[in-house]
């Protein structure tokens, strides 16, 4: 009995982990290349969820509306990212880091209220796509099929992402920019478009994660802040800018959250930040990041 319970907690932690990885990977990517912690990443995620809901509502009563809706949401957010980066953000690149951070915060404020204006404050949710509306039994515990799907998709994206980083020239440029972007500029790479590309990909991932989470979690104002905090923890644990670090950080955090809540029920609001503080004090560059200068 106990083993089964532990296993179900483990699975729940794993679902959270892969899902957080999807969100945090975009955050980590932007930090690694643009050297900015994008506070608005959580807002993009939230908007992805809202747009997915809206698309499903428009396409109803179509049964399998979820898939096009999710894709639409991801693309819409990617477009939003494109506009934001090309027309606003790039003019702040030579300004102080603080101003870049404040810019992303301004987006949080503006877009967060925009979401309230468009969709109100009531909780919304999206039905699971019928083809995945069931559960399977694994070692005696019930695992919703949709969760399994997210886990698989997340892992596929992780591997795909890694392959792109390692094997393609775009990936090489991204890795080079993460190490030394001035040099890269000096070598003639169009760093401007690289930044735009990275920001757009990150936005796409945020929007996609938001869409994918809409059947599992309620869509509600404030989910942007909740997720950005968790994404921070994940990238801090793993190491800002490190790809596998983010993955590892997500796995660890997923389990910490899953089991931590059992031990100490009032765990979550305190633990998240206590964990962040401990890592930053003891090992600020995280598990797989590069030691700070």
């Amino acid at each position: 009995m106990a083993a089964q319970f532990l296993f179900s907690q483990f699975l729940s932690g794993l679902t959270t982990a892969i899902f957080l990885f999807l969100v945090a990977s975009g955050l980590s990517l932007v930090f690694g290349v643009l050297r900015v912690l994008n506070f608005a990443h959580g807002t993009f995620y939230m908007l992805g969820a809202y747009i997915a809901w809206q698309a499903v509502t428009w396409l109803a009563p179509a049964k399998e509306a979820f898939w096009p809706a999710a894709l639409l949401a991801a693309l819409a957010i990617a477009a939003l990212g494109l506009v934001v980066e090309r027309f606003l953000f790039r003019y702040l690149y030579d300004k102080e880091e603080l101003y870049q951070l404040l810019f992303t915060y301004a987006l949080v404020l503006i877009l967060g209220d925009a979401a309230k204006m468009l969709w109100g404050t009531a909780q919304l949710s999206v039905a699971r796509p019928p083809v995945l509306d069931g559960a399977i039994t694994v070692f005696g515990t019930l695992l919703p099929t949709y969760n399994l799907f997210v886990m698989i998709l997340g892992s596929v994206i992780a591997v795909g992402f890694w392959v792109i980083l390692q094997r393609t020239s775009a990936g090489r440029m991204i890795r080079a920019a993460a190490m030394d972007r001035e040099m890269l500029g000096a070598l003639g790479t169009n760093v401007g478009w690289l930044y735009t590309g990275v920001f757009v990909v990150s936005s796409f991932l945020a929007g996609l994660s938001g869409a994918l989470v809409s059947p599992i979690k309620a869509i509600v104002p404030g989910m942007d802040v909740e997720i950005i905090v968790e994404a921070f923890i994940v990238v801090v644990i793993g190491g800002l800018g490190s790809f596998w670090g983010t993955f590892l950080g997500a796995l660890i955090y997923g389990q910490v959250l899953s089991f931590g809540i059992l031990i100490f029920p009032r765990f979550s609001i305190f633990s998240v930040f206590a964990l962040m503080a401990v890592i930053l004090i003891v090992r600020p560059w995280g598990l797989l990041g590069r030691p700070l200068k």
Partner: protein, 325 residues
């Protein structure tokens, strides 16, 4: 900034006239502005002088409120002592957090300040027995202000006005102290840290020690402003310490201009007045704030005071230097 105009005195006298306008609303607003100005000026010791971007300054504000409020309400400690306790509380916790934070730089520093602040918030939010949990502490008593009516020229005001005058006096003294600190040799060495921490250490500045000192001083004055705010608000609540409050003080400071001593005060006035006006029309204050922030970032990066200063420089034709020798 080396003009000999006694701005502190001028601003004090100007602010002092508010009760004579006879409006409860103006007095209420002005009390809020004065208290939050102290909060913002304390923050600028870190941001403008030392170059430290803290995302958790509201924690020390909140802790000051709790300390002062609880002492006055539960233990009937007299106001002056409770106020001091609020400042000490802010300073003490700033010392603990600061010790760890100053060992980091840039975004890591900022995130650790946020983490500490949120931990402190979480504790206050959940510790029902002491802090009242999410209900907070209400019914904080006003200090005994009757004696003020016997001061010549000051009789016949409402209690809110007496509180305002006292708060103004306390805050202007604190701001004046912060001004002297900013312009002192200590403050000058803080600017070297802001400009070039590596070079600062090579001219003999123990960077961590100075940053920690700045952090503690800022935390102490934040605690005092928080203590005053708790009384003003007649209650202390955990969301005094919640991260959006830290974001607010950062924005107030930059809005006015972090490169000038009085910038944060100007920013506070703008923020409080705008907030009051706009929230009476719409619930979408965050969006308005975000737009203001965008305008600030793209058009007036030096804040309002910075913009005025730059404009003046263009008009008077000074460039590239200050008449400092």
């Amino acid at each position: 900034m080396s003009k000999r105009i006694p701005w502190t005195l001028i601003i004090f006298l100007a602010a002092l006239t508010i009760p004579w306008l006879g409006s409860r609303y103006y007095t209420f607003l002005s009390t809020q502005i004065v208290i939050l100005s102290l909060f913002a000026v304390s923050y600028n010791l870190l941001l403008g002088s030392t170059g430290l971007v803290s995302f958790g300054h509201a924690a020390y504000f909140g802790l000051g409120s709790y300390a002062c409020g609880l002492l006055m309400k539960e233990l009937s400690i007299p106001f002056p002592i409770a106020l001091l306790a609020g400042g000490l509380m802010g300073a003490a916790f700033a010392a603990v957090a600061g010790y760890f934070c100053v060992r980091l730089t840039k975004i890591y520093f900022s995130m650790l300040t946020l983490a500490f602040a949120q931990i402190m918030w979480a504790i206050c939010f959940q510790w029902n027995e002491v802090t009242g949990g999410d209900q907070g502490v209400s019914g904080i008593p006003y200090p005994e202000l009757g004696w003020m009516s016997s001061i010549p020229g000051l009789d016949g005001f409402r209690i809110g006005d007496y509180f305002y005058i006292m708060t103004l006096a306390i805050c202007i003294v604190c701001i004046w102290i912060l001004q002297r600190i900013t312009n002192s040799p200590f403050g000058r060495l803080l600017t070297t840290i802001r400009e070039n921490p590596e070079r600062a250490s090579f001219i003999g500045v123990n960077v961590h020690a100075y940053e920690l000192a700045a952090f503690v001083i800022a935390g102490g004055f934040a605690g005092i402003s928080g203590a005053l705010f708790g009384i003003f608000n007649r209650g202390v609540f955990a969301d005094f310490m919640f991260w959006p409050k830290s974001a607010e003080v950062l924005i107030m400071t930059i809005l006015g201009g972090m490169n000038h001593f009085w910038g944060p005060v100007v920013g506070t006035i703008m923020m409080v007045v705008l907030n009051q006006q706009i929230t009476s029309y719409t619930e979408y204050w965050p969006m308005v704030l975000g737009i203001i922030l965008l305008v600030l970032l793209f058009v007036f990066p030096g804040g309002l005071v910075g913009a005025v200063d730059a404009g003046l420089k263009r008009v008077t034709g000074r460039a590239g230097g200050r008449g400092d020798a």
